[in-house]
């Protein structure tokens, strides 16, 4: 018997080469893998590298305006260079300028504070809810579990609007519910970190809920029962058995929350701007949107954000990746026995109800009510109610005669051409992007599951994972850097301000999610089903057409709908690239909400939320799971 250790090397022969080549190109799978890798490199790696390169390359504007020249005079680090040459100017500008405090250090500090507190509050909150819902006999579980993720489906910036409509004070031009009732709301409560953290908690609790409840569900209840037999009481069981088992999920949730909250733009922009409170995301977006600023420095800020967000995720994988999953599911006893809460039952039920009330009912209620008010914060009396925000027209004599309507800057929703255009844009963007993304996602899923353990499977998986590591604003900065100038010698024109660019960025940013849904879909289709077809004489395309697609259909549809929702409500990702003719509903509402009269913005919000809930319900029917769209 042989004990060959090394691989066999064959002498070169023409026939061998010919066969190897034929094996490679006659297999459509290889061809697909090749093109997929090509596309991923072109859409993810090259733009990222380009942005990094831009931060080290002297740009035309900065050379033309002599900004670099002036800087070179005052610093040893910077040399006076021509356009396209290497320079440290942009990084120097970011760290050394008198501005550094304003554009970098203070926002960074704010981001960290918000990230920290959001995590400290939302992770225990989400985990507690998860434990209550999965492991205890809390009353009303059916209803609660149907509602528990609805707050998460409401876009976070909609919740920011809701917050404002309750807590707004005079500073933002119109008053909120409380001020209207004569209760003075201090600035620190209405705007800034306090408000941002609370609104984010009402959103990001969902990460911890989803992860921890998944982990709890996988714990065999016999493990807890064994503890009970050994004489441990409920608190001891929770602390010594249950918690250590869900700890990995708990930590992952914490890291995810930090990473996400560090990169959030919409909430921070809405709740911070009135008191000039900036976080890294808003600071970078404002910096890049101001054409007087050196773009390279903005990109450098984006890189810092990416490093910060991806660094935490990598840390997570390093720290707990190895022991992430305990094998807690045995063959027996997966039926979980619920823990009786005893006397604590009703108080905890009240706690859940209050949570749902604050996170779901309140925002919806105040948004809906405010959209019917003439003067926000003016109470819900009959004389303060109007349908203007929905169907009013500024030119309508009914309103022109009434001074209270003067402050409205735009027509009501259904009289508003901008709304129609934005609705059309939203549908167009979401539909095209989600179709392409979901379609690609299935292919990516196919490649990663079938190429599991092979180099191309891993490479595809890693490339697709990259957009996931980046906050939406920073990701759009990459595309901003790549496509705001003509590329390939003019073959690709400058795409800034085009629908195409927004479409592209929406597609690529959703690759990770779509591919995850694709691969979970493909994992359900055992490879043996395909091999059986192969042996029966079916070629690659016959296999795809007659075996894979019929079986992947439902997963594809639900993945499509979830991507559709996600793109439709997207704000952070597209904010940087927006120009008026491309406004989507989300951005239009966000834009309107900056003005004194937020009623129309509220109305748009309600339309979006309704739309999300309905689509989500359909996706759920098809077996989709919103908890997978994180």
């Amino acid at each position: 018997m042989s004990g060959k250790k090394t691989k066999i090397k064959y002498p070169f022969s023409k026939e061998r080469l010919k066969n190897q080549f034929l094996n490679l190109v006659t297999n459509p799978y290889n061809v697909i893998v090749f093109f997929t890798l090509l596309i991923l490199i072109a859409l993810i790696v090259i733009p990222l590298v380009t942005m990094i390169k831009n931060t080290f390359t002297a740009g035309y504007t900065e050379v033309f305006r002599g900004m670099i020249k002036r800087a070179a005079a005052g610093s040893d680090l910077i040399k006076d260079v021509k356009e396209g040459e290497f320079t440290l100017y942009y990084w120097w500008y970011l760290f050394n300028k008198a501005l550094a405090n304003e554009i970098l250090w203070t926002p960074l500090w704010h981001s960290l504070i918000i990230g920290f507190f959001t995590t400290v509050i939302s992770v225990p909150l989400g985990s507690l809810i998860a434990w209550l819902m999965v492991r205890t006999d809390i009353p009303g579980k059916k209803v609660l579990s149907a509602l528990i993720l609805i707050p998460y489906m409401i876009p976070s910036w909609c919740k920011a609007l809701a917050w404002l409509s309750v807590f707004r004070n005079d500073k933002s031009g119109s008053t909120g519910l409380l001020t209207g009732l004569g209760i003075a709301v201090p600035d620190w409560m209405a705007y800034g970190p306090f408000a941002i953290i609370l609104v984010m908690c009402m959103h990001y609790y969902a990460f911890s809920y989803i992860m921890v409840s998944g982990s709890l569900r996988s714990i065999n209840s016999e493990l807890e029962e064994m503890g009970e037999i050994q004489g441990a009481n409920k608190v001891q069981i929770l602390g010594k058995i249950t918690l250590p088992l869900v700890l990995p999920a708990f930590l992952s949730a914490a890291i995810m929350t930090i990473s996400k909250s560090l990169g959030t733009y919409g909430v921070a922009a809405r709740l911070g701007s009135y008191i000039n409170y900036h976080v890294l995301a808003t600071s970078m977006k404002n910096f890049l949107n101001n054409s007087a600023n050196p773009k390279g420095t903005g990109y450098a800020m984006a890189i810092l954000m990416i490093l910060l967000a991806s660094g935490t995720i990598f840390a997570n994988q390093k720290l707990i990746g190895t022991r992430k999953s305990y094998a807690t599911i045995g063959g027996k006893g997966t039926r979980s026995n619920l823990i009786p809460l005893g006397k604590a039952k009703w108080p905890l039920m009240v706690f859940m109800t209050v949570f749902l009330f604050i996170a779901m009912c309140m925002p919806l209620f105040v948004l809906i009510m405010e959209s019917f008010q003439i003067v926000p914060g003016g109470g819900y009396g009959k004389d303060n109610l109007t349908l203007y925000a929905w169907i009013g027209n500024m030119a309508d004599p009914k309103y022109t005669g009434d001074a209270r309507f003067d402050a409205f800057a735009q027509n009501g929703l259904f009289q508003n051409s901008e709304f129609g255009r934005a609705a059309l844009n939203t549908v167009k963007l979401s539909l095209i992007a989600s179709l392409i993304t979901a379609f690609c996602g299935q292919f990516f899923g196919y490649i990663t599951t079938r190429g599991r353990g092979k180099w191309y499977g891993k490479l595809t998986e890693q490339l697709i994972f990259i957009p996931y590591l980046m906050p939406g604003v920073a990701f759009s900065a990459i595309y901003f850097a790549m496509f705001s100038v003509p590329r390939l010698g003019g073959l690709i024109p400058s795409l800034y301000g085009t629908f195409a660019l927004i479409l592209l960025v929406s597609i690529v940013k959703h690759f990770p999610f779509a591919s995850r849904s694709g691969s979970s879909n493909m994992l359900q289709i055992s490879q043996e089903l395909e091999e059986a077809a192969d042996i029966n004489g079916a070629g690659f395309w016959t296999r795809i057409g007659r075996v894979v697609i019929p079986l992947a259909k439902n997963g594809f549809l639900s993945g499509l709908l979830l991507t559709f929702i996600s793109i439709a409500k997207e704000l952070d990702l597209i904010a940087l690239l927006m120009t008026p003719e491309n406004y989507t509903l989300s951005f239009l509402s966000f834009d309107y909400s900056k003005e004194a009269m937020p009623q129309v913005a509220d109305a748009i919000c309600i339309v979006i939320i309704l739309f999300i809930l309905v689509t989500n319900r359909i996706a759920g029917r098809l077996g989709g799971d919103v908890s997978k769209s994180m």
Binding site: K4, S13, R16, N23, E531, A532, N536
Partner: protein
Amino acid sequence: MSKIVLEHIDKFYGENHVLRDINLTIEDGDFMTLLGPSGCGKTTTLRVISGLEKPQHGTMTIDDKTVIDCEKAFYEEPSKRGLNLVFQSYALWPHMTVYKNVAFGMEIQKKPKLSKGEIEERVMRALKTMRIEEYRDRYPNELSGGQQQRVAIARAIASNPKLLLLDEPLSNLDARLRIDMRAELKRLHKETGTTIIYVTHDQVEALTMSTKIALFKEGEISQIDTPLGLYTNPIDLQAADFIGNPRINFIDGKGFFDGKTLKVTSPVGDFEFEEKKMKRDEECPQNREFDVVIGLRPELVDIHTEKPDEKHVIEAHVYANQPAGSETLITMAVKGVEFLAIQTGIVEYEMDQKVYARLHPSRMNVYNKETGRLIKFAKTKHKAGAEED
């Protein structure tokens, strides 16, 4: 006619050398079983034969037609090898009815294009063979495990393959169904005359169904033999340990071989074996004492309560007694050595009862302990009244 020859097949997964120099010839009409514990390479070998895996080294021919030639990087497509495969998971397409599942391969076949009638006739013939005609319009999830299994086999035989590959087809069935399906497969083999390659880790399946068994160990074939040959003369200690339930008894002893006779001394007695009963191509030290292991099948120990007037009788004590209905397992102790005996029916012994064990040296295996290899054959004939020793 279909004869399969594998020569020097090597397969790597990355650094992992999963198949090591596999050489295997399967004659036309054979029921060849690839037997071994999990992870030993038997399924990989089957997948190499089917064309689902490509080895890095070696050649394979079917009826002298080359289907694998690694040196030329030539690998014939699975569908052109004239074979079919039944998967362990059955791999029935859940979105197709039983009929569609079986018809699929023929429906997509281009040349010769089969007519609808022809396809139907063939499908129904296959369904009839497996006795599942009445389920033709059901979906796989509406069938029991055993029925799904039959569909999977029907799908594989519908195309009249020259070679049928079965990958642990019975491992998902319960014990009773397994016995039924074993009979079914044996009958199928006889009726169709198809060459079958069958992968299993279950030695009972292998022993009862095959005409030949290839025993796998860590990516190598350690022995190819008939079921009887494999059972009576396992080539090494590991093979002996693997084959047989309850497992074989190993008893340490000392051997001395003078070129003509092998003398073995052990706690269960001293034995002499002539050279002609020895396996002479194995390493066996001459004219010095060396360590040997005696292989003693539990069913080849007769137990008497009165001392019989025969050779090779030893006094022993009953250590434990396990009646199991159709048979009784008796653990016995002699001079600090324990060994197991098996008797049919229910036999009662007291614990520590004195008994006499009658051994049959001609049916013992002797292994060289150092190499672990068989050096003395056991007699294969088990006929009653044959020459005894």
